[in-house]
Symmetry: C2
Subunit: 220 residues, 2 copies
Amino acid sequence: MPPTITVFERSPDGGQGLARDMRVRWALEEVGQPYDVRLVSFDQMKQPAHLALHPFGQIPTFEAGDLVLFESGAIVLHLAERHEGLLPKDANARARAIAWMFAALNTVEPSIVELEQAPYVEGDQPWHEQRLPLLEGRIRARLGQLSNRLGDADWLDGLFSAGDLMMVMVLRRTDGMGVLEDFPNLVAYVARGEARPAYRRAFAAQRAVFTAGAAAGGHA
Amino acid sequence: MPPTITVFERSPDGGQGLARDMRVRWALEEVGQPYDVRLVSFDQMKQPAHLALHPFGQIPTFEAGDLVLFESGAIVLHLAERHEGLLPKDANARARAIAWMFAALNTVEPSIVELEQAPYVEGDQPWHEQRLPLLEGRIRARLGQLSNRLGDADWLDGLFSAGDLMMVMVLRRTDGMGVLEDFPNLVAYVARGEARPAYRRAFAAQRAVFTAGAAAGGHA
């Protein structure tokens, strides 16, 4: 039986593939594993049944037999360890690829989330506009360091890995912020990720949830 | 030859063990591996020699033979995979312990870092004081969910694991914020971590760097 992942019933990003299930979908496509999807509403995410799967009431979760996992990083790593295609065979290269997963999630993503969330958290506050340059500056500092390391390489450390998958997805969260464009090698890096057939299959699958919801006349 | 980790030459926290090298020191002590330490100054961290080890110019790094790693999460996981003591043998329990590492770093830590950094980033701005309740509220929301999941258990999922190590270290970053105290089971959880002999050895080792620096009459 294929694993089941949970995803938003109504995509808050309009099917742009920015929600964290996209990371898991992409990983599943890269390793060629089929999967089932269960849609959850924002209300359901806060209910005991979902909290039993995900203590922080988020998506995605991953259920495979007796195993229940949460955290997109942990799910992608789990898949990468059990199937070929997302981690190098060489032990040291493998450890470095995993380091890039952690770098994406713990060093690069938080500053991006801060800017992304600011309008929701404090968009009605007088200081919101004034804080934007500060928030953008923090992202640019990180992107500058990442850009320096990537240089003119295709991927962060040799062949495409789970580290690149996670970093590309995190960088995609800057969509519309106008910060990534300062770093042409990072723009090209994201485009390389988006061009992968596995990415495109995953993107189409998450998009289909949105278009189905839209077709059903769902409210936003 | 034992691995070498990099740590702050001058502890910015006064030897309280809040810097990220403490996570790696603790993991090394839990698995019984000796290690060497190389002190780096804030200036050195931004130089090419250190950036070659750590693209984001931070500590800790980990060098073992040909392997160079950065990101405390990646280093702890690397150690946990190669030595006994930080991950369960059962494959599913192992995946869940790793999920807690990611949860600590990607779901719990970012909101804590935001409040910790606020005085440095915008302490001189008129909105700094007004934003504090918002920042504290975000941390409390996460801690409440974590507290609910932990309940009256000793550790997050069965025996002590690398997931607990990382979560305890992340929760310790709330020191002085007055938020953890709302959740007595989390206070007790952190205390259980701090009582482990391996933690105490690691804490003493990082503290010794600070006291040596202080004895040398270093400026803050």
